[in-house]
Subunit: 156 residues, 2 copies
Amino acid sequence: MRARDLVEDYPLVRLSDDALDAARLIADQRRPAVVVVDEEGRPVTVLPASQVLSFSVPGYVQEDPSLSRVYDEKGGADVCIRNLSRRSVEEVLPPAERRYELPVAPGNATVMECAATMARLRTPLVVVTEDDGAIRGVVTASHLLQVILDASGSQA
Amino acid sequence: MRARDLVEDYPLVRLSDDALDAARLIADQRRPAVVVVDEEGRPVTVLPASQVLSFSVPGYVQEDPSLSRVYDEKGGADVCIRNLSRRSVEEVLPPAERRYELPVAPGNATVMECAATMARLRTPLVVVTEDDGAIRGVVTASHLLQVILDASGSQA
């Protein structure tokens, strides 16, 4: 079994996409992150849901969460949404040195190669690309564990 | 709306649980991680799926993933499972200095307080506990984004 046999769809956003649309995608699909691609569709990094929150929650509230009590629910939400409005995905990404390294595996990578890459980079997924750089989908760490457990036929 | 109104069930394992059972739980529920609790049920840290892979994939394969090709599929899986067998969750956790800080919020935390905590610690979830320390469940970053988007009634 190879990486290309294990891929799942995963939400993608472009660097130039609207940050608020990326937030909606994360919310609608209840994902911990979305994969960010450049204008040619090549994988760049991931945008974690926590980074979207980090960009939207005012700095003084992040330093002292009890200050959030100055807002009512709608007021607080409006402030958060305003901080995301009219910004691109690229603008809300962490600075380059703090971005997540996005592991990429070729379509013919073995299960153990994918597992080794996730283990080394401590990521819950790898993006699977074909020779032309096109993204096939992602393989998740939990899916790999399933494949390993099934292949070994391990008993409790 | 408060943290306790937003909680979801999330898989929990104890420090003394079998690591292989934790791997199965992650695989069955297709989760990126499980929450680890001590013997009294108090939250300790999270065990990410990538850490389980990190413990199970031999070190030399992590350094050079192409070495995984010495194994066939079942052989590779057997090696991985053997590395997890007869170990507790505590034994497969990262060393203390590399463990994830597990954010905890009280049941009456506001949406923005939860968001501020996730933003500061860059985590995709907070564990919600009541006054007696019992875990109510977790609130995820993507769910918070949904609540914020809905409360603001933002338009594209």
